[in-house]
């Protein structure tokens, strides 16, 4: 178990170095020149050059990267070009809201997705099934921007149930979590449906039925536990999906998370922040998969951590 964890963390560290390297290359070859951007258009070429030197942007690529990596190991993510503050500080301030939103969205998507998926699988081909799959498809394919604005318009402006964006109370959380969760719910309901259909056709379900136990028990105890296995693995992958979804949803709802931060940083070519957010997102994805790994053995005894 501990060896497994250590191995996983080792992999994660390697992955992070890889991610940082690739991001660094991408930003390096970007045509936008942060020094020129910082200097403003009133600056003379000499001023731009001074700033470039100060930021170390005149150094060769490998030197810049190694310096970044060296700082990273010491927990220093660098300073934001535009905000002139520690990246770690900015990211740390933005992380809790994103984690909260993500947790809420996972609850939403699992509640909606799994329920719909199971119910649809119990009556494949029925009206409910067809309807649910169409709704899921819409959920999956509606752009989150449009979906979010629509939610705000209906539930905040028209019905006045929730505030229009912002952060702080549970009522602020509901709409962004639902918007973010609905996309996932679409995936999960489709996945749960096919997983459930698959499980319901397995031999052990027949065995359970033949024991004469109630059908609800067959479905809820025997089928569900098995059908949920692929879903657990999905939650790990989902974290990545959330990170990209968060960029849009956080912007629409004014949710002060790292998605919003990333969006702003990209527009301003604030490389240290982009790097910081990318690394945090990578860590989140690694952790998500690790958690899925750790949870899976509790649901499926065939998986044993060594």
């Amino acid at each position: 178990m501990i060896r497994h964890l250590a191995g996983r963390l080792g992999q994660a560290a390697l992955l992070l170095v890889g991610v940082s390297f690739i991001t660094f290359i991408l930003l390096y070859i970007l045509p936008a020149d942060p020094a020129r951007q910082l200097a403003g258009r009133s600056a003379t070429p000499e001023t731009v050059e001074t700033i470039r030197q100060q930021l170390g942007l005149d150094r060769p690529f490998h030197e810049q990267y190694l310096r970044y990596l060296g700082n990273l190991v010491q927990g220093d993510l660098g300073r934001s070009y535009t905000q002139k503050t520690e990246v770690a500080e900015v990211v740390a301030a933005r992380l809790p809201p994103t984690l909260l939103l993500m947790a809420a969205a996972i609850v939403v998507e699992l509640m909606i997705g799994l329920t719909i998926g199971v119910l649809a699988a119990l009556r494949p081909g029925s009206r409910f099934d067809q309807g649910a799959m169409i709704v899921s498809f819409i959920g999956v394919s509606t752009p989150q921007f449009v979906g979010g604005i629509l939610m705000l318009y209906v539930f905040s402006v028209q019905l006045d149930w929730f505030p229009v964006g912002g952060y702080g109370t549970f009522r602020h959380l509901v709409l962004p979590a639902v918007t973010l969760g609905v996309l996932g719910a679409g995936w999960y309901s489709r996945m749960m449906r096919s997983s459930m259909l698959d499980v319901l056709a397995r031999d052990f379900i027949r065995t359970a039925r033949a024991k004469g136990i109630p059908e609800t028990r067959v479905v809820v105890v025997h089928a569900l536990r098995n059908a949920v296995l692929p879903v657990i693995a999905m939650i790990g992958i989902d974290v990545g999906l959330f990170m990209s979804g968060a960029v849009i949803v956080e912007s629409v709802f004014g949710w002060p998370g790292i998605g919003q931060l990333a969006w702003q940083a990209i527009q301003q070519v604030d490389i240290p922040i982009i790097m910081g957010v990318t690394l945090v997102a990578a860590v989140a994805i690694v952790l998500g998969n690790l958690i899925a790994d750790l949870v899976a053995p509790f649901v499926d005894p065939r998986i044993r951590l060594r």
Binding site: T207, A208, R209, A210, G212, I213, R225
Partner: protein
């Protein structure tokens, strides 16, 4: 071994699959019965409808896609085909036990053996925990599982195939059913294991006195394990007889050909194995005549025109216009 008072009796069972224009009759006019302590083998090649027949007769065949079009299946004086689902479920696991083909997939992988056994018992009895555990231990010991306490805590994947099939047998028999449905219970096992499991089932049958409905494609197993046998072809029973009579003198040309084409240890390999040419007609394409006529070496024009009825003979019954003569 008396069959005067059948505990389970199926009459004129008809089953179809699919809906609308694609609906096709897959089992037609099938009748059989099993007595207390008796084993009836239902034998046939894949697609002949043997499993569907047996599973439908006890209500375990999922519907849709299958539909029972007619007939009855009486356990004692209850017609299973007319029971509401709840009442049917009370019989499953208590008066009817089922053992399926593949022990590797027939146990739920995420629950312990103990949980799956307890569940079977708890569904039909009101025993105290201690009584229940005692009964489970006894049953496991009876099916030849050593160290049952340890096994109860294990998960299916930690057990070998043979052990799993023993667990499934224990599960099917734990409430002492009158009827055991065994659907190809040894097909997925190696020969040495097959022999063990068959021996176990035989002992349990003799001890507990239940009737067994044994579905298989293996004539050797039928010969060694069953009292009577019904041979199915294309959704119908073409011949049924006491086992010794059937193997000694098969009357239906299909039974005859099937026996002949089975490789045996004492066969002479210098002579080509007899074969049955052609293919089984698919459901929906079965005409008015005998379904086997197209492949039958003894077929006459009448065979293509009218389906022969199942006629009782000396040692059994067969459905053929031109039966194989008794040697």
């Amino acid at each position: 071994m008396n069959s005067e008072l059948p505990i389970f009796r199926v009459d004129d069972l008809a089953i179809s699959f699919g809906g609308g224009t694609r609906r096709a009759r897959v089992v037609d006019g099938v009748s059989f019965h099993v007595g207390r302590g008796e084993t009836l083998g239902i034998v046939g090649e894949s697609g002949c409808g043997k499993s569907v027949t047996v599973m439908s007769s006890v209500g375990l065949q999922p519907s849709p896609p299958s539909h029972v079009d007619g007939g009855s299946a009486r356990l004692g004086d209850v017609d299973l085909l007319r029971l509401p689902p709840k009442a049917l479920r009370r019989l499953w696991g208590s008066r009817i036990g089922v053992v399926f083909q593949d022990p590797m997939t027939s146990l739920n992988p995420v629950f312990t053996i103990g949980m799956q056994l307890r569940e079977a018992l708890a569904a039909h009895t009101n025993l105290t925990d201690a009584e229940r555990e005692a009964r489970i231990m006894a049953m496991l010991a009876r099916v030849g599982i050593n160290a049952p306490e340890r096994r109860l805590r294990q998960y299916p994947h930690e057990l070998s195939g043979g052990l799993r099939q023993r667990v499934l047998i224990a599960m099917a028999l734990i409430c002492g059913p009158e009827l055991l449905i065994a659907d190809e219970p040894t097909t997925a096992l190696d020969v040495t294991l097959q022999a063990q499991i068959l021996a176990l089932l035989r002992d349990l049958r003799d001890e507990m006195g239940m009737g067994i409905l044994f579905v298989t494609h293996d004539l050797g197993v039928v010969a060694q394990f069953c009292d009577r046998v019904a041979v199915m072809y294309a959704g119908r029973i073409v011949e049924s007889a006491r086992v010794d009579a059937l193997f000694r003198a098969p009357r239906h040309p299909y039974t005859h050909a099937l026996l002949a084409s089975t490789p045996r240890l004492d066969s002479d390999r210098s002579v080509p194995l007899p074969t049955i040419d052609g293919m089984v007609p698919p459901p929906g394409a079965r005409g008015a005549g005998c379904s086997f006529a197209a492949r039958c070496s003894r077929a006459q024009p009448i065979c293509l025109a009218t389906a022969p009825a199942l006629v009782a003979g000396q040692d059994g019954a067969f459905a053929c216009h031109h039966p194989v003569p008794v040697p």
